[in-house]
Amino acid sequence: MAVPSVLLLTDRNFTRKQNTRLEKQNDLGWKLFGKVPLKETSQKDPKRIHKEYEEKTGRAHKPISPKQNVRKNLDFEPLSTTALILEDRPANLPAKPAEEAQKHRQQYEEMVVQAKKRELKEAQRRKKQLEERCRLEENIGNAVLIWNNEILPNWETMCCSRKVRELWWQGIPPSVRGRVWSLAIGNELNITHELYDICLARAKEKWRSLSTGSSEVECEDAGFSAADKEASLELIKLDISRTFPNLCIFQQGGPYHDTLHSILGAYTCYRPDVGYVQGMSFIAAVLILNLDTADAFIAFSNLLNKPCQMAFFRVDHGLMLIYFAAFEVFFEENLPKLFAHFKKNNVTPDIYLIDWIFTLYSKSLPLDLACRIWDVFCRDGEEFLFRTALGILKLYEDILTKMDFIHIAQFLTKLPEDLPSEEFFTSIAAIQMQSRNKKWAQVLVALQKDNREVERGSPSLKH
């Protein structure tokens, strides 16, 4: 008999509806606590609350700038509401004894206090989150100013300074990202916008001759059969709509479909010896999202011309194995326990590295994170790609050491979508790209030298 007839409602949507309905008909004798105001707003006058309520329900049609909106949210949050109801016994039953009623009231009040406390805590958490977001936005705003006014005009002198490097690590603001990437990647190949136009015109010619079925395909690209080229051009077409399918912008009829097609087509004419290789469409797509078409082409060609990318996209298997071997040197150095576990389970680096390196993480990481990886890759070069791989392994070291082959392979080729970005970058930062006083490039050169000697036939050096 001692159960107080108290109803605790915490479902947000439900209580919200209740709340609005109850405001209209206040004569039910229910007690209702809702929208616990934050400390600094607890003395708000009812008029202001009413005004805000109107704004929220859209009754007032004043346009609100996004900035105001954020501020308002800070002041007054649409919190989950808690309704707590204390009812007397129905009239047809005997009334509660005074003592019991007193006890129930007391229990009821305690519950209310608890609920309020919980709500307040939740409100504070949300407020903190919002403040964090505002702070982040402000930081990005400041960073844009620094990049635009200080760094970009003095690129040559400033790009290697400590301050810039640090700012760079934080992530380049999206509005200047394309320009910084372009500058950092450079244009060693001296590609001009005109060259892009010429390559594109040639590609278009080839598409036309292919679609009309004429066999007069130019034979300037000796060594590559017309059939192979045809397959390559065909494959580009098929792969474009399979590039970031979730974004829905590269698909047939999408705004960037033709741009992506053009860049990839132009590249096969510019470098027929490399041609189109799956994975390229992702790199081109990320560049298109940050740069104008011709500049994206220039960055794309120069990026693929870097030694690591050339080795992979020309599928120089011998050289790829050297890259994997170098990676393993740093893997063992940084994560010896996991390295041993992988060895025991026959998890070789080609299983997970191929996709990561070919697409520069754009297929395997969320796009915003992939862009941050690209930021630092543009700063530090190929070694950062391998450092990132080790960062991923470090981040998930504990779970990976408990997995067997197939689970490791599945996990690494399909990374969790909710990869925590800050922890991830902390993991990467903790990876030392130094092995016995040797840096990445030195290890790579040493391995290449060893390999050449092995090829020349000195079996003593093998393994």
Partner: protein, 216 residues
Amino acid sequence: MAGSEAGKGNGGFRIILLGDSTVGKSSLLRCYTEGSFIPAPCPTVGVEFYSKMMDLPPGIKVKLQLWDTAGQERFRCITRSFYRNAVGVLLVFDMTNRKSFEHITEWYHEVASIQLMEKVVFLLIGHKSDLKSDCKVSTEEAEGLAASLGMGFIETSAKNNTNVDLAFQTLTNTIYEALKNKEIDLQEGWDGVKVIHKKNCNPQKKKRKTQEKCLC
């Protein structure tokens, strides 16, 4: 590791899917393991993995380790190193793409030239059977090729989920039969088939033995 797996099943088969780009290897696997179909999935770069448990008739559970490979010809020298450890191969072509069918013999010889095992079990898959009107390869022709290469043939569709389970069941059963008849030779250090003996499972002992061998 083997000990913990013993509770779950009696072994594992490694199966690899090969065939030209865009014939639908990934879709076939996604349909089989997740029961879903996405019209244009991302192209596979390198290799991707799926796994599923399968019940074989006499109360035996087998864990299928499914390797999905990149189809572009350029990647062949990379994927080649993956064939070696497979016991089953699904050779997949697109029924609406004549070329992908013509390349099947090449894919077959690729594996045959690399695979060191006595026997690998193959199965030919004619995929996208839902697109009947666009068919560029007849069932008879595909069956003829399969027979000449000594393997079975099944038409599948991931879009309609037609024969997908059947394909994997057929392949797994054939592997199992071959194992029972000792047609497949089990070698140490080969990952194509993992047999877990329920009673006496002591991998450490085994290891020590091989180490001793090395010392001799």
